[in-house]
Amino acid sequence: MSSARTPDDTRTVLDGAEIARALTRVAHEIVERAKGADDIVLLGIPTRGVFLARLIAERIRAIEGREVPVGSLDVTMYRDDLRRAPARALLPTQIPADGIDDKIVVLVDDVLYSGRTIRAALDAMNDIGRPRAVQLAVLVDRGHRELPIRADFVGKNIPTSKSEKVHVRVSEHDGDDAVLISGHAGAAEAEAR
């Protein structure tokens, strides 16, 4: 918290309007791929993935005129780095009432980075049900994958250095919508989210 970082080395890569347009496009792509909104379930990964999933669901309702179930999926208990830090607090998991069996589940997260969170999410989903298909939507793909995982729907590809940090802000949680990049070589402290 008390780092010597000046506000200058934080830059905005997506503002509110750009995020809104990206999410609208992603919503269209999801519906196009699924040939409609039937059977789609959006599962956001806490914290910000859940807010993004809700925003995408609103847009799908505007396009298709029907509600899409939205839930959240906490992957903490399935992470592969649990023993590298003190035990973390759990975040809410809420699976829509109709479950995910035989549905098209779209996982929604804010930033795709190493891919380890998504691997954990796939494991977590395995214990909950058997979807017909699983797809991945992310607002930002910043590269540096460590596992063979890719996103089906990407708001924006943002090439980054590993020493940079990507911050996604959503208005329901942070007061405004923005994607920020901060830090350069040297300021790197691997903070999960």
Binding site: D74, M77, Y78, L82, R83, R84, A85, P86, A87, R88, A89, L90, L91, P92, T93, D123, D127, I128
Partner: protein
Amino acid sequence: MKRHLLSSADLDRDDALLVLDTAAELAALTGRTVKKLPTLRGRTVVNLFFEDSTRTRISFEAAAKRLSADVINFSAKGSSVSKGESLKDTALTLEAMGADAVVIRHAASGAPHQLAHSGWIGGSVVNAGDGTHEHPTQALLDAFTMRRHLAGGKGDLEGRKVTIVGDVLHSRVARSNVLLLATLGAEVTLVAPPTLFPVGVETWPCATSYDLDSHLRDADAVMLLRVQLERMNAAFVPSVREYSRRYGLDKQRMSTMPDHAIVMHPGPMNRGMEIASDVADAPRSVIVEQVANGVSVRMAVLYLLLGGAQLGTGEPDTDDADTGVEA
């Protein structure tokens, strides 16, 4: 969280809320077809029970198994303890087998403390009831149950009034509950006959009374303690029947409680003694739910003690935990 859970006093408000919030998330697992998480895969939890217990041992076993830990059950009956083995030698044996956590119940107050601080074992120690001292996971599951019914399942228990009735003298449940509930902001009143209060109860963070009826009208929760019949031969009360008349919760007494108030009992119950049978089965009785919540709370405790790296205790275990090496 500290490395061990020996007493409710080990938990400050933030720790206690962390356990309760974690348990609330884990409770959702109960409704699923696959009631299992991979979190403690490859870790070993030993249930070391020197005293008889049904629900606590089963509860810890279910909790550890749902987190994918390997569970070894040890009960003193039929073990080397009956041949005279000391706690130390038993502990050294467990350590040699690579126990990551030891859940211990012992008739001697302080046995878990001894186990945790003697250097015999390197893992975490969880007190599952020691003598007349403490039973912290029972207090956590009681607080979890109260929070669900009285506080919407969130936050602390600020200002809630809890009446705990019965054999406080011999009760580890009462002591653990008083400490934890005070941490969470609840106002606790202990009710018992004068002979069943321990010396020094006036220093506990709670009120005391000899009269049950005056503490039912404004109670949010009433918890009955088991009449420990095995200890009643020392004439603590004139007769079980007299105890039941003055301190037992029957239907007539229950009707003086507020509508929202719940009835709790840590089990095992003596129906017709400290609690009337129809009270135990009343809709406001949450006794069965307490057992279910026990599994969630114990999962939370095991996860928080074992799930992450062991940091901040000054113990030289950090290196192992960091590299993921199982010693």
